[in-house]
Structure formats: structure tokens, C-alpha cells
Amino acid sequence: MELLEFARGPALKVALVVFCFGVLWRLVGTVLLRYHRHLSEPRDGYFKAFMLGLLVGGSRSWPHKQYIKRTGYGEALGYAYHIGLFIVILFFAPHVLFIKSLFGVSWPTLPSGIVTIIAVLTFTLLLAVLFRRLAHRVLRRLSNFDDYFSWFVTTLVIVTGLMATAHFGARYETLLAWHILSFDLLLIWYPFGKLMHAFYIFPSRIINGYFLARKGAPS
């Protein structure tokens, strides 16, 4: 079996199995955790508290104007590379074909040249993110293996993808195999590291918003 076939076949299968197992384990396990019991009645009723919670899910995704000078750069970096990742993952034709082969759904794609430029920008932003983490005294102290490894697996997929597109460093089939294997690695790491934030971020904001709204805190 060639490396490319291994990457597209057994390795991908194992990675998907680990990913699905891990994500459901952590999601269900977290959702069903025992919450602190609120004995008081919600200030403005359950429905309003829930709606305000939803609002917090969105409003807390934007930098607070009071802190924007201090946090703006980091948040802008974060937004920019996430948008880049979304475009590269969702609008590169071979990626859409990959998704179609798994789930049977597809959508229009962007020209490969544009996606490549966005991928290069995304890679640059990921480097800036790493530099910021290393240069920022507080952030550096807060960082652990999980932060760096999550950055590594994300960046590795982008780098190997760019190498495959540019046919740089090895033969195309080898580069494509590396790219898919790096994605397989990302899938395996996903549920157990901070990449899981993709699943947690909005539910946790909404739930926190709901609890605060029950107490009458403004959204």
C-alpha cells in the first residue's frame, strides 16, 4: 500500500473514528455534568434569560471597547486566521470533493490561486500568533504543551497543503499524503486538546450568558 492510499484510507478511517468518539465523549460528558443548582427564580423569566444568553454568545465574540486597545491586536489576529482557515477548508475545490466523498454534499468553490494566496496569508498570521504567544509575557506563562501542539497540528496542515499545491519539496503524491496525514493527526488530536474549543466556545458563552441573565446582569 502506498503512503497516499494509507493516508486516504486506513489512517483517515482511524482518525475519523477517534475524532467522533472523542468529540461525543467530551461534549456529552460536559453537557451532562452536574450544574450548580439555582434556587432563585430568574429575574425576568426563563425565556428572556435564554434569549439574553444567546445574545451573549454573539456579543462576547466581539472585543469590548473598554479593552480594545489592549486586546484588539490579538483578537484581530485570531479572527483573521480563523477566517483564512474557513475559506481554505471550505472553498478549495479538492477539499469540497473530499467533503462530498464523505457526506455527499458540495457547494461552489473559489479559484485555486485565490485560495493559495489566502492560505499563505493564513500561514503568516499563524506565525504571528505564535510569535505573539512567545513574546507576550503573560500569555507565555499561561501557555502549555496543549497550546503549542494545537498550533503545530493546525499549521502543519496548512504548510503541507501549500507544499502540495506548489509541488515543493517532494513528489506530489508524497506531499498530498503528508497533507492528508497531517489532517489525520489534527483529527486525532482535536477532541483532546484546545482545538475542541470549536465545539465548546458558543455553547459555553450561551450557558454563561443564561446564568448571568437569570441574575439580571446586562448582556
Partner: protein, 365 residues
């Protein structure tokens, strides 16, 4: 008589056959061009050919369909076809030779004896090893025995076609005859693979000419001449610009396909296939499969037929078959999550109860 002709140089044989100098030079220059050699190398090839004695060639056919030999003998320029047979002394080819049976076997044995250590063996077809090699026998000998006997005194082996190079169709799953490529059997001789199903005629002839004039060409990791197998079909494909701008044919012969859009979505294996189809093309440079609207099948690659899943599945597609195992894993994950949450709740409740008990006890104290 045969020996006398074999002793002649290529130049002598060509002039005896009435091949004009113009045709000969044209052939040498186009061969140099095919081989991606410097323009001046055409003359070097010509000079070398004119003084080179014609090498003896033994052409062995095993598990094959004769498509490769058809390809070679139907090279698009008749003079090229003639010339390659004038440049080599084809002493044995049981498909082309008039002799049959014992006489043909004698011709092969005589060629081996007379040119021991100097002759070239061209192999067409895979070699079956299953059940002692009974699936392919000639004159009571198995293919593997014939190959071993013939290769012993050979200067080099040229595998023409994917079957002899990598096993091809006979090697495909479930491989009932135990077919293997020549490289699995002969490991101590220079080996040149010219894969393809079939290979491009000009690639076969140019490889032979290069061997005759300049020796074993530069080869890639799969023993293919780099001059022809150094680039992917995708890199040289005229539809490549459409890949770059993201325009893909969705079905065979749809408007996109007819407008020359990329066939990647229809399963084209061009990006992982190394061959000269997109540049040399077929039938006097008329076209190649992709130009005719069909995706590349990757016929010049090892494990052709079995590799990369279906011919019509895009290269980007996963080869996992069904998503059921992932779904089952999700179910198990959810169950483990429920179990973990339940355990956590039990512990939490136990902690609360024990704290309450401690409080009550301290109050009582």
C-alpha cells in the same frame, strides 16, 4: 547470414535499407528532443548510431495482451517503426517472428549464446509464480524459468508496459496467478521500466535508442526514464489552467468537459501519474486520453488498477468506504460521555452528602 547482418553497424543497415540521411537525422533529432537532450545531442546520437553495431534484442512476452507490442510496431511514423527494427537485431519475438515452436526456441538460445553478456532483454507482461508458474509456459518451460535463463547473460532488461514493470492487470487483486513484475525476479541487472498501458510508442523507441547510443538513461525511483516520466500528466496538461481557476467538468461530456475544463472531479489521476502523454501524445501527436474527454487512469504507475480506489473517484476523496465506523465511534463516545457524567454526578453527590454529614456531626459536637 543472420550473424553477418548483426555484425553490420546501424549505419550500414540503414543505407542498405534505403533510409535517407534526411530521415535518419530527423529521427535522431526528434529522439534527442523527446529525451529532453540538448539540441546538439541529435548529431551525437546520429554519429553514435552510425558506428554502433546493432545490439541483439530478445523480446519476451508473458502475461500480456500484446497491446505494448502493437504500440511499438504501430509507431506513428513508418520510418521510425522501420528504423527501430533496423537499429536493433530483434533475434527473438515469438509474436512477430515467422518461426514457431522448436525453431523459435533455438533462435533464442542461439542469440543468447552468440551475444552472451551483451544482448538486451525486452520483457512484455507480468510473470506468474503461482502453482510453480504453470499459468504461462512456453515450450514446456515456465515464464519465470525462461526469464531467469534469458536474463542471466543480458546486459540490461527493458520492461515494456505496466505488466512487466509493476505487474499491471495480472497483478491486480486478487491476482489469481501470483503474477509479479520482472523486478521481483531479476535483481542483479540494470533495469529500465517503460510503463504504460500501453506505453507511448515514441517513448519505447526513444528509450531503446538512448540505451543503444548513450547507455542506461537517468531513471526515477521506479526505474523509469526521467526524460519521459519526470513530470506528472497534470503538470503538462492543457486543462491545467482550469484546475488553477477552479473550473471542473462535473459529468462526462458536459459543457465544461467540452470546453476543456479540468477532469479532476471525474477522477483524473493526472496529478499523481508520471508520463509523457500530455506532451508527446498519441497517434502522430493527435491527442491523449484527457484531450479526448476521459480522465487519466494512472496506467503508468505501480499498482495500477488497485491504487487510488475507483478510476472515477477524485484523488481528494477519502478511501474509507463507509462512515458507519465513525458513527459507531460517535455512539460509543456518547455512551462513554454519559457514563463519565453519571460517575461525576455520583461523586459530586457523594461529596455533597459527606460535607452535609460532616456539618451535622460538627454541629452535634
Amino acid at each position: 547470414m543472420t550473424t553477418a547482418i548483426r555484425e553490420q553497424t546501424v549505419g550500414e543497415v540503414l543505407s542498405a535499407n534505403g533510409v535517407s540521411r534526411r530521415t535518419f537525422i530527423k529521427f535522431c533529432v526528434s529522439t534527442a528532443s523527446f529525451l529532453a537532450l540538448a539540441p546538439g545531442m541529435g548529431q551525437v546520437i546520429a554519429k553514435q548510431l552510425l558506428k554502433t553495431k546493432r545490439p541483439s534484442v530478445i523480446y519476451l512476452s508473458f502475461q500480456e495482451c500484446t497491446g505494448c507490442l502493437e504500440s511499438l510496431t504501430r509507431s506513428y511514423t513508418p520510418s521510425v517503426e522501420n528504423m527501430i527494427f533496423n537499429m536493433i537485431s530483434l533475434d527473438y519475438d515469438d509474436t512477430l517472428m515467422a518461426a514457431a515452436g522448436k525453431q523459435s526456441e533455438e533462435a533464442r538460445d542461439a542469440a543468447i549464446k552468440e551475444n552472451y553478456g551483451k544482448y538486451l532483454v525486452v520483457v512484455d507482461g507480468a510473470v506468474p509464480l503461482g502453482n510453480g508458474g504453470v499459468y504461462n509456459t512456453q515450450g514446456g518451460k515456465s515464464a519465470v524459468q525462461i526469464l531467469r535463463d534469458t536474463a542471466k547473460g543480458a546486459a540490461a532488461i527493458v520492461c515494456v508496459g505496466t505488466c512487466s514493470s509493476y505487474g499491471g492487470l495480472p497483478y491486480a487483486n486478487p491476482n489469481p496467478t501470483g503474477a509479479v513484475p520482472v523486478s521481483d525476479i531479476i535483481t542483479d541487472k540494470p533495469l529500465i521500466n517503460v510503463p504504460g498501458c500501453p506505453p507511448i510508442p515514441a517513448v519505447i523507441t526513444s528509450t531503446l535508442v538512448q540505451y543503444v547510443t548513450l547507455g542506461v538513461p537517468a531513471l526515477d525511483a521506479h526505474h523509469r526514464p526521467l526524460a519521459f516520466y519526470g513530470n506528472t500528466i497534470h503538470d503538462r496538461c492543457y486543462r491545467r489552467p482550469y484546475f488553477d481557476v477552479g473550473k471542473f467538468a462535473k459529468t462526462f461530456d458536459d459543457e465544461g468537459a467540452r470546453n476543456g475544463w479540468c477532469l479532476y472531479e471525474l477522477g483524473c489521476k493526472g496529478p499523481t501519474t508520471y508520463n509523457a502523454c500530455a506532451t508527446v501524445k498519441w497517434n502522430e501527436g493527435t491527442s491523449f486520453p484527457i484531450e479526448s474527454g476521459h480522465p487519466c487512469l494512472g496506467c503508468s504507475e505501480p499498482s495500477f488498477w488497485d491504487r487510488n480506489g475507483s478510476f472515477y473517484a477524485p484523488l481528494a476523496a477519502g478511501l474509507i468506504g463507509s462512515l458507519a465506523p465513525a458513527g459507531e465511534a460517535a455512539g460509543v463516545g456518547a455512551a462513554v460521555g454519559i457514563g463519565a457524567a453519571a460517575l461525576s454526578r455520583l461523586r459530586s453527590r457523594a461529596r455533597t452528602q459527606s460535607r452535609a454529614a460532616e456539618k451535622t456531626a460538627s454541629k452535634e459536637d
